[in-house]
């Protein structure tokens, strides 16, 4: 049977049963307007539904009854027993028709003119006329009833029925109508079979049932826990049975709460249609996986966030047709909703093929809203920048439309989703579109949690946030590395920041496990992945999250608490709270953000690095291009002048510098030295061991705040400190060569003229840090800018330079555009401009010359850079 019809039958049977009662009550209290209103409403609904489903007979009867009731309601007729009887009679007719409908799925043939005529007459005259024609028992119903074993009431019996009716004094005036009523008795004798198949139950009843099942699951867990420690008891079999039944019960109750997600989407096509008119955009809404089921409660909670996201996609994401055509896309924008199950969770993707997030605008807006300083904003990864749209009061829409752009919403969306233990991820590609990925638990009632132990205390971590478990320590491949005391884990070529649960929660230091082994729970919150260090990991348990006591609400670290199988109370950790407490999700999101950035090819050019070791700590690396030679000196040949180690090298004294003050040069044997030369001067950096030379796509993942280090990166799969050469150069030079003419060297390496002002434009902090000291040691007065815009800002501010060195590949305005801007600017028109890039294909060089670059040099060709600069500035001077 058609679902719609089934629902109609169920609903109408219920309504009719209710009407019977209400009408009898109305007869007793004829002047109760509320009662009358209620009756009228029910009949009206029946009529409406019948009309909608195309059931003309039912509709006609219901309509006539409604007419009578309407007049009564309006005070034109008074409630008399005959009126009630007449209405009841028409209800019985409806029931009859319904029972046939239920059998055959079609309305019986025939008509109800007699009844309708009487109803209409009553509505007109206010009294019940005698039937004008012979009573017409519902004709088609009869044979069907025969099949079902019901006998149509023979005409001879009508008298008897009349008798029954007549026993009630009120029925007297309608005695003539008895034949019609007769059939109704037959119908009344059985309930609608369909109606019996489904029951309407209040949501609170189900909620209550669910809560109790949750408790039952907990108790079952407790019993199972006890069982584990007690072998060979008689309880094993019944407990297993209990276990099964409980699981099935849980599943069954869950099923009653499950609804397809399509229910939450039902209003979206209309919404999108209206939006497309309002915004003058062509929008195609695709909905995939609408049948995916999830908990009713969860469904209710995500309805609004989903609507909001779709609205946002339509308004902000998709372009107007003209822009789409210009961008070479189809005029009709597409919004796709996709829902599917994934490991006990439900994933909902809302994506559009619009213009993507305008990162520059968001950056600028973040600065304007004082969410970040200008330099901070520029240093943030794209992923971090995207997170700003989740901040309250943040909107980049140029104007507020009636649809969105008021800057409320995205923060609410995130809050609402996180409230139910879900996560929102954001992916965006400029020009290609934006996608929100929402991951939510199937149900809120019972969650799966990982039980861990730190310093002798147990905690639960919701499984939804846990990505994997890593064992670090003796005998394991994974090792915890430390940079400036902050722990990190190398995990598949990524540096994973770690937080220690012990430190975070201020646990009892005396109980801290003294094991060499540490377990790391790799946890994801939004796009931020981090590791929680714990002492032990137990199994996962199904838990019911109970809120913490009000006096503990201020402690942000807990999502709730629960009772474990062994009866003890356990605190449930809130991964969001931990992420926030571990230095802020936005701050530490760099780990992931960096990956995204390098994938996008915006950063991380390939650099040849020399990897070496010194001291105990992490391997260190320096770009090979900066090193003049690798030497090994005899430990015995190291001399000390003024308390500092020097070595005679090519007829001069070469200062030796160590990475850390406590490091002692070898007295015996070979001592590897990295020689950095600059003109006639050179210095040696003492190292323990030269490990390797590798070519890597270098990306500084964690900027160091220690002098002497640029930051840390993954080199050859290991977390490696990148050293700041400039720091060691200046460490050696001012003391040892301070008296010498700093720029007077006439050696082979070309020197810059003293005091020439140079502007270095490069988006990568690494290259800025690398080149700036190099160029300053070559005698230039270096100013750095991290973007073309910033450089042009300096121009506007009235700064002048003798030469500008610019990167080509930069986010926002690239080097070519920058060059064109410089060339069209009166102030800097004549300033020599040197391109510094890894893009050295002839076509690129041609293009560079065409837009006005004075010269074009491959990145990290140090000699060439200095030579060119020297020539350029001389030429200009």
């Amino acid at each position: 049977m058609d679902d719609l019809l089934r629902e109609f039958l169920t609903e109408t049977s219920e309504s009719l049963a209710l009407l019977d009662l209400e009408l009898v009550r109305l007869e007793q209290n004829p002047n109760d307007p509320a009662l009358l209103g209620n009756i009228f409403r029910i009949v009206h609904t029946i009529k409406g539904t019948c009309g909608f489903l195309g059931l003309p007979r039912l509709e006609a009867v219901a309509h006539a009854s409604e007419n009578v009731l309407g007049k009564v309601r309006d005070g034109e007729l008074v409630v008399t027993p005959d009126a009630v009887t007449l209405i009841l009679e028409s209800l019985d007719r409806i029931k009859n028709l319904l029972s046939v409908l239920e059998q055959t799925e079609t309305e019986p043939a025939g008509e109800d003119k007699d009844l309708i005529k009487r109803l209409n007459a009553f509505a007109e005259a206010g009294s019940v006329p005698a039937p004008v024609a012979a009573p017409a028992p519902v004709p088609a119903a009869a044979p069907v009833e025969d099949d079902m074993g019901f006998t149509p009431v023979p005409a001879a019996d009508t008298g008897k029925n009349m008798q029954i009716a007549a026993e009630e004094p009120v029925a007297e005036p309608v005695a003539a109508a008895a034949p019609a009523a007769a059939t109704s008795f037959a119908a009344e004798t059985r309930d609608s079979a369909v109606a019996a198949q489904s029951i309407r139950v209040g949501v609170d009843v189900l909620e209550n049932l669910m809560t109790m099942v949750s408790e039952l699951v907990l108790t079952r867990n407790q019993l199972l826990q006890i069982m584990r420690s007690q072998k060979d008891t008689d309880f094993v079999t019944p407990l297993q049975r209990l276990n099964h039944v409980t699981s099935e019960l849980q599943e069954g109750v869950m099923k009653t709460r499950m609804q397809p997600i399509g229910n939450a989407w039902a209003k979206l096509p209309r919404l999108v249609r209206d939006l497309s008119h309002e915004l003058n955009k062509k929008i195609d809404l695709q909905m995939l996986g609408a049948e995916t089921e999830l908990d009713r409660q969860v469904l209710e909670l995500i309805k609004d966030p989903l609507t909001h996201l779709v609205r946002n996609c339509a308004d902000h994401g998709l372009e107007v047709p003209a822009d789409r055509r210009a961008a070479g896309k189809a005029e009709t924008g597409r919004i796709t909703l996709n829902a599917f199950h994934e490991g006990g969770h439900i994933v909902i993707e809302i994506s559009d093929d619009g213009k993507g997030l305008p990162l520059d605008k968001i950056r600028a807006k973040a600065v304007a809203n004082k969410l970040a300083s200008e330099s901070e904003a520029a240093a943030l990864s794209d992923q971090q920048v995207m997170q700003f749209i989740f901040k309250a009061g943040f909107s980049t829409a140029a104007q507020v439309t009636s649809v969105s752009g008021r800057g409320v919403g995205m923060d609410v969306v995130r809050t609402n989703i996180e409230k139910i233990g879900g996560t929102v991820e954001l992916k965006s590609q400029l020009g290609k579109g934006t996608a929100f990925v929402i991951k939510i638990p199937l149900t809120l009632a019972i969650v799966s949690a990982l039980i861990v132990e730190a310093s002798g205390e147990r905690f639960a971590i919701p499984q939804i946030s846990v990505l994997e478990l890593v064992r670090a320590g003796a005998g394991s491949e994974s090792k915890i590395e430390r940079i400036n005391d902050a722990p990190f884990l190398r995990l598949r070529n990524r540096i994973l920041p770690l937080v220690s649960l012990h430190d975070l929660l201020g646990l009892d230091a005396a109980k801290k496990a003294n094991s060499t082994e540490t377990f790391i729970v790799v946890t994801q919150v939004g796009n931020y992945t981090f590791g929680i260090m714990v002492d032990r990991v137990f199994d996962t348990e199904e838990i019911v999250v109970k809120p913490v006591a009000p006096i503990l609400r201020d402690v942000g670290m807990f999502a709730g608490n629960t009772i474990l199988g062994d009866g003890s109370v356990i605190m449930i950790l809130d991964p969001n709270g931990i992420a926030a407490a571990s230095g802020g999700a936005a701050n530490a999101e760099s780990a992931h953000g960096a990956e995204t950035a390098s994938q996008a090819g915006l950063d991380g050019e390939r650099v040849t690095l020399l990897v070496f070791r010194t001291g105990q700590s992490a391997p260190k690396a320096v770009p090979l291009a900066l090193i003049a030679r690798l030497e090994e000196v005899d430990g015995k040949s190291i001399e000390y002048g003024d308390g500092r180690p020097v070595v005679q090298y090519r007829g001069r004294l070469m200062p030796l510098v160590t990475m850390d003050k406590s490091y002692e040069a070898k007295r015996e044997g070979r001592q590897p030295v990295l020689v950095f030369a600059d003109g006639v001067r050179s210095m040696g950096l003492l190292v323990d061991e030269i490990v390797d030379i590798v070519e890597e796509r270098l990306k500084i993942e964690l900027a160091a705040d220690r002098p002497g280090y640029v930051g840390s990166a993954i080199v050859a799969g290991k977390s490696t400190d990148i050293i700041d050469t400039g720091h060691y150069l200046t460490q050696a030079y001012p003391d040892w060569f301070g008296a010498m003419d700093r720029h007077g060297g006439n050696g082979a390496s070309p020197k810059g003229d003293p005091g020439k002002k140079l502007l270095l434009v490069d988006d990568s902090p690494f290259f800025r840090n690398l080149l700036a000291p190099l160029l300053s040691t070559a005698g230039y007065e270096v100013t750095t800018a991290e973007s073309a815009d910033q450089a042009l800002g300096l121009c506007d501010a009235g700064k002048d330079f003798d030469v500008i060195v610019s990167d080509i590949e930069m986010p926002g305005m690239d080097g070519f555009a920058f060059c064109e801007a410089v060339r069209s600017n009166a102030r800097w028109q004549e300033t020599p401009l040197v391109a510094l890039t890894s893009r050295t294909a002839p076509a690129d060089i041609d293009r560079g010359r065409r837009v006005g670059f004075t010269d074009y040099i491959a990145k990290l060709d140090r000699e060439a850079l200095l030579r060119t600069l020297s020539e350029t500035t001389r030429g200009a001077a």
Partner: protein
């Protein structure tokens, strides 16, 4: 809670008595849900100092408050585990850990006195008044104020 106290001004009222550091305290008997012996308590990191932890009372999670700590008294010695009085406050259960729980006493209204002005402010904050008993004084604990930690921190 409060109407029980006003009621106390009339005839006699019943109190569950308890001792903390040899001082006698009382809580109106109707406010008390349970009296527990030593319990396994799960410590709650980062919680206010007075919160001893959480415990499982027949499937309900009860927050345990160390009344000693709340009253600025030194911690219990390791050998005495203490007992708990469970009270309901706005639908949540709290277990007040005291040194020992004594008998239920019916105290006449005319033995009731307001808080003496010299009482330590931290004590006065949680005390609803004092009963003069033979040979000693009983301090009436005001559960609501006892559980208001924020005020305690401010004080």
């Amino acid at each position: 809670m409060n109407d029980k106290l006003t009621h106390a001004a009339g005839a006699a009222s019943d109190f569950v008595t308890m001792t903390i550091a040899d001082q006698l305290f009382g809580i109106p008997v109707l406010a008390v849900q349970d009296v527990l012996g030593p319990q396994r308590i799960t410590r709650i990191p980062l919680a206010p100092r007075e919160v001893a932890g959480a415990l499982n009372l027949r499937g309900r999670i009860v927050t345990a408050i160390d009344v000693r700590s709340r009253l600025n008294l030194p911690a219990r010695t390791a050998d005495s585990q203490g007992m708990s009085v469970v009270v309901d406050h706005k639908g949540e259960l709290y277990s007040l850990i005291v040194d020992a729980v004594g008998e239920v006493m019916s105290l006449p209204a005319d033995a009731f006195e307001r808080n003496p002005a010299t009482l330590d402010p931290r004590w006065r904050e949680v005390s609803g008044g004092i009963y003069r008993l033979q040979g000693k004084l009983l301090v009436v604990l005001e559960v609501e104020r006892l559980l208001n930690m924020r005020r305690a921190e401010a004080a």
